[in-house]
């Protein structure tokens, strides 16, 4: 079938602009993009640039630009696959280059929200198709034939009637002189003819990685480069009083040390002391003699224990500060309920701990411009922030996008970019590489918000949910365009219950918060799918059966406006299909091995529908063991790169299990207690379960996979533990003393 630019198929690429969207309140993530298709004929016989993304060389090799930052999600391979498919390129002759930060040239460059697939599915294909059209036109002119009589084979234009053939390389020089067609008017392939989309293709940079070649941000090496470490207060919100920079300057290898004043925005620059040395290890070591004095203010009294106590009190008092969303008459529903189910749930702060610690390299030049090598998920946002900080126009800030050793949402915030700009500004002409220690990373993160929920459901005599309440105790933070400490106003099953009241109480804090892979969903899925499991048990049924009943006969919900464009509405049929699929895969309802039990979890996030079943047991010492995880996912009718897709799902499952079983960041004295991998213990190889993945290929355009497979595995595990022990996990990470 061929695609049309409906809302559900992602935004189509118009002649000049394919997307013009302003985010709602907050407005931090406003995107207005153009992809100019100006062709440029190069010198005769040289490379021919057919548009901003495609250059074809006379030897028939093709260079395609990967525009989005690569954090391990496979986007540097996947977006060029879309271009190459419609260009009808010979993939073996394609080289991929990372594009620099350039909104005018490439449009939005963002690694976040699993947005890349839905945002680029049409535009990248149209980019390839437009270039193919130019090659066909060039052949039609050369041979004096009708363009309709021409076709392509991989990287070759063919005139079947005469048997004439010309490679893309032979035609590219002529093609580049032709007018660029309106990309939205160019015909796309029949999707049945795809031969690159749907083919497993290995990561484009993998050969370099196994040889240890320098491709990550922290591998950047420049002539005369020096290294910076940055000392900041462990207590969030502290102000710098004094530091002994002279003592640091006397340390071996140290070139300079100076204080840096924050700009009042903790998302960008907090007070600190920079130490510069010929080797980062020497710079970092010299921090120990700085004797920094901080004014911690009121924040040093804050702790996780205090937050826990306050939150429990708010839930017990039962007087939320504000309404999130409500409908119907909840009080009447509870007054007339045949049965009421109640449960409190909570989850901790989490850190991102990408393997490559935060870093950035910068060179401030004599004219005040700055060149940066930035491992950032939002390099365009970083460019703007650095320009504002330095007081220069954004075009004075050149940002090279480097491969990243993981992102997980940490690198959506560009504090390290502003930090290195503040340091490099003091040393014009000298390239500076800022590196954070792992301790800096763990203790200076933008954490997944912790939260507490008191849920109540009113059931009638038939077991139907007639009323639903959630008192959500969360944080009073300035979330900007996206507040990770909230939840969707129509959080499921809001639209399927007549009387609902979701309310909030917000507590003050200086703990910085941000998006962690599958933000909000990674916590809310646990809360709501656990609670619905309780409701199902109260009705004497299981969770997948309850889920299917709740949406029985329901129609698709209307599309809405999301962060970066149209957001398809919830499609109950897709929930039904993944739920039934995973029940079949896991033999749900059939006996399982002695001492083991199954649990189910479902979630819809980032446009992907995932239902998962976990098979778990307890060891003799009551340690949780996960044996099998079955995953049924629906991200549309194509799995663009099956290799990358499977890798994302497997990683998401283990990531989620790690969060459920062993991860928490705690606050003590206003600072983070954890500091490195000995007390923030990521999953390791021996805990890897068997992971079985299958797809429901519903007839929707493909959407992203960086996130949606993560949320449901957490309640699937805790629901399995309930099935096994009768004990309800109400707080993460799982406290195994519950099973003693």
């Amino acid at each position: 079938m061929s695609d049309t630019a409906t809302m559900d198929s992602g935004p189509a690429l118009g002649r000049r602009a394919f997307l013009k969207v302003s985010a709602a309140a907050g407005g931090g993530l406003a995107i207005a993009a153009t992809i100019p298709m100006a062709a440029k004929a190069m010198a005769q016989g040289g490379p021919a640039e057919l548009n901003a993304f495609i250059t074809i060389n006379p030897d028939n090799t093709i260079t395609i630009i990967g525009k989005n930052p690569e954090i391990g999600q496979g986007i540097k391979t996947m977006l060029p696959m879309l271009i190459a498919e419609e260009l009808d390129a010979d993939w073996d002759m394609v080289a991929i280059e990372q594009g620099d930060t350039n909104m005018a040239k490439y449009g939005p460059q963002l690694a976040g929200g699993s947005f890349a697939t839905p945002m680029n599915w049409m535009p990248m294909r149209q980019t390839g198709a437009a270039a193919r059209h130019m090659l066909l036109q060039a052949a039609a002119l050369r041979w004096g034939v009708d363009i309709a009589s021409l076709s392509t084979e991989p990287s070759v234009v063919v005139h079947a009637a005469s048997g004439r053939r010309a490679t893309f390389g032979e035609l590219a020089g002529e093609a580049a002189t032709l007018p660029v067609p309106d990309p939205s008017s160019v015909a796309l392939k029949d999707e049945d003819d795809f031969r690159i989309i749907g083919t497993p293709i290995g990561g484009i940079d993998s050969p370099k990685i196994v040889r240890g070649e320098p491709i990550f941000g922290v591998d950047t090496q420049l002539e005369g480069m020096v290294y910076a470490a940055y000392e900041r207060s462990p207590v969030f919100g502290a102000k710098l009083l004094s530091a002994n920079t002279e003592a640091a300057k006397a340390q071996p290898g140290v070139i300079d040390a100076f204080t840096v004043e924050g700009n009042g925005n903790a998302q960008e620059l907090v007070d600190g002391v920079a130490v510069i040395a010929s080797n980062w290890w020497l710079a970092n070591k010299a921090r120990s003699v700085l004797d920094v004095q901080w004014d911690n203010g009121e924040w040093a009294s804050h702790s996780s224990a205090k937050y826990e106590e306050d939150a429990r009190r708010f839930m017990a008092e039962g007087k939320p500060q504000e309404e999130l969303s409500a409908k119907g008459d909840v009080d009447s529903a509870f007054a007339s309920a045949a049965q009421v189910v109640e449960g409190e749930y909570s989850y901790p702060f989490l850190a991102h701990v990408a393997m490559e610690p935060m870093n950035c390299t910068a060179l401030v030049k004599e004219d005040g411009s700055i060149e940066m090598w930035a491992p950032s998920q939002t390099p365009q946002g970083g460019q703007t922030a650095v320009a504002q900080y330095l007081g220069v126009e954004p075009d004075k800030v050149t940002v090279h996008i480097t491969r990243m050793g993981g992102g997980f949402g940490r690198r959506l915030t560009n504090d390290y970019m502003v930090q290195v700009a503040a340091i490099a500004k003091q040393m014009p002409g000298t390239p500076v590489q800022l590196i954070w220690s792992r301790e800096d990373d763990v203790r200076s993160d933008f954490y997944r918000p912790s939260g507490w929920h008191k849920l109540s459901a009113a059931l009638d005599e038939n077991g139907k949910i007639t009323g639903l309440k959630d008192h959500f105790v969360t944080w009073d933070i300035d979330g900007g365009a996206f507040n990770p400490a909230l939840m969707p106003v129509t959080e499921f099953p809001f639209n399927y219950v007549d009387n609902v009241d979701y309310s909030l109480t917000k507590m003050p804090t200086a703990v910085p918060m941000g998006a962690l892979r599958a933000p909000t969903s990674n916590a809310i899925a646990f809360v709501f799918q656990s609670f619905l499991d309780e409701v199902a048990h109260a009705q004497g049924k299981d969770l997948p059966t309850l889920m299917l009943e709740i949406v029985e006969g329901a129609e698709a919900e209307p599309d809405t406006m999301g962060f970066v464009g149209p957001q398809p509405g919830f499609k109950p049929q897709r929930l039904r299909d993944v739920t039934r699929k995973v029940m079949e895969m896991a033999n749900w309802g059939q006996p399982v091995a002695e001492g083991r039990a199954l649990g189910f979890g479902y979630y819809w996030s980032h446009q992907g529908y995932f239902a998962e079943v976990v098979e778990a047991s307890l060891s003799e010492r009551n340690q949780v063991q996960v044996h099998n995880v079955w995953v049924a996912g629906d991200v549309g009718r194509h799995i663009i790169n099956p290799y990358g897709a499977l890798n994302q799902v497997e990683g998401s499952v283990i990531d989620g299990l790690g969060q459920a079983m062993q991860l928490a960041v705690e606050i003590e004295g206003g600072a983070v207690k954890q500091s490195n991998f000995h007390n923030y213990q990521l999953p390791r190889m021996p805990m890897t379960p068997q992971i079985h993945v299958d797809w429901v290929k519903s007839d929707h355009s493909p959407t992203g996979l960086g996130e949606p497979a993560l949320p449901p595995v957490i309640p699937a595990l805790t629901n399995a533990l309930h099935a096994l022990t009768g004990k309800r996990v109400r707080s993460l990470p799982i406290d195994t003393s519950l099973f003693a």
Binding site: V218, N279, V353, M404, G405, E650, L682
Partner: protein, 157 residues
């Protein structure tokens, strides 16, 4: 006074304090950035190199303590048959997501197969538990190691 270390078959003089960890000497004194910084306390394995063939955390090994022992790093991994086979298996299994930890994973896996050419699944798990992969590509790392072990095993029959 320079510290003399033999790295990938070459004798290198490093002008740095003796207590500087090998990791930082490799990366920033010698410009060999294939060996990665992950935690600085020997807990993640990203910085794994071989010292006289033993998998060693270079973030916790002062250059002054190496002496006559020979260091080899990811940059020379392809020169050994097992290392080369593992590099190829990593590509065949499409092991990587972000790839940052993989130099350390490969160095550790090579040391494992050099000392135990035919490990059981449990032996692979135990030998690799010191290497964190934040993207959690563990299933593929395991499969790639097992595939090379099987191949080597067949070759020896």
């Amino acid at each position: 006074m320079a510290v003399r270390v033999k790295i990938n078959g070459e004798t290198r003089d490093i002008d740095a304090p003796e207590d500087m960890p090998l990791l930082w000497a490799l990366r920033q004194e010698l410009g060999m950035v294939g060996t990665k910084f992950g935690c600085g306390i020997g807990m993640c394995g990203a910085c794994t190199v071989h010292v006289d063939g033993q998998a060693t955390r270079s973030c916790a090994m002062p250059i002054g303590s190496i002496g006559d022992r020979e260091v080899s790093t990811i940059e020379s991994l392809g020169q050994s048959p097992v290392g080369q086979a593992l590099q190829q298996a990593w590509l065949d299994e499409d092991v990587m997501q972000c790839g940052y930890c993989q130099a350390g994973q490969l160095m550790n896996a090579t040391a494992l197969l050099n000392s135990n050419p035919n490990p059981t699944d449990e032996e692979i798990d135990n030998a690799m538990r010191g290497n964190i992969c934040r993207c959690a590509c563990y299933k593929r790392i395991h499969t790639a190691i097992a595939a090379v072990a099987r191949k080597e095993d067949t070759a020896n029959v």
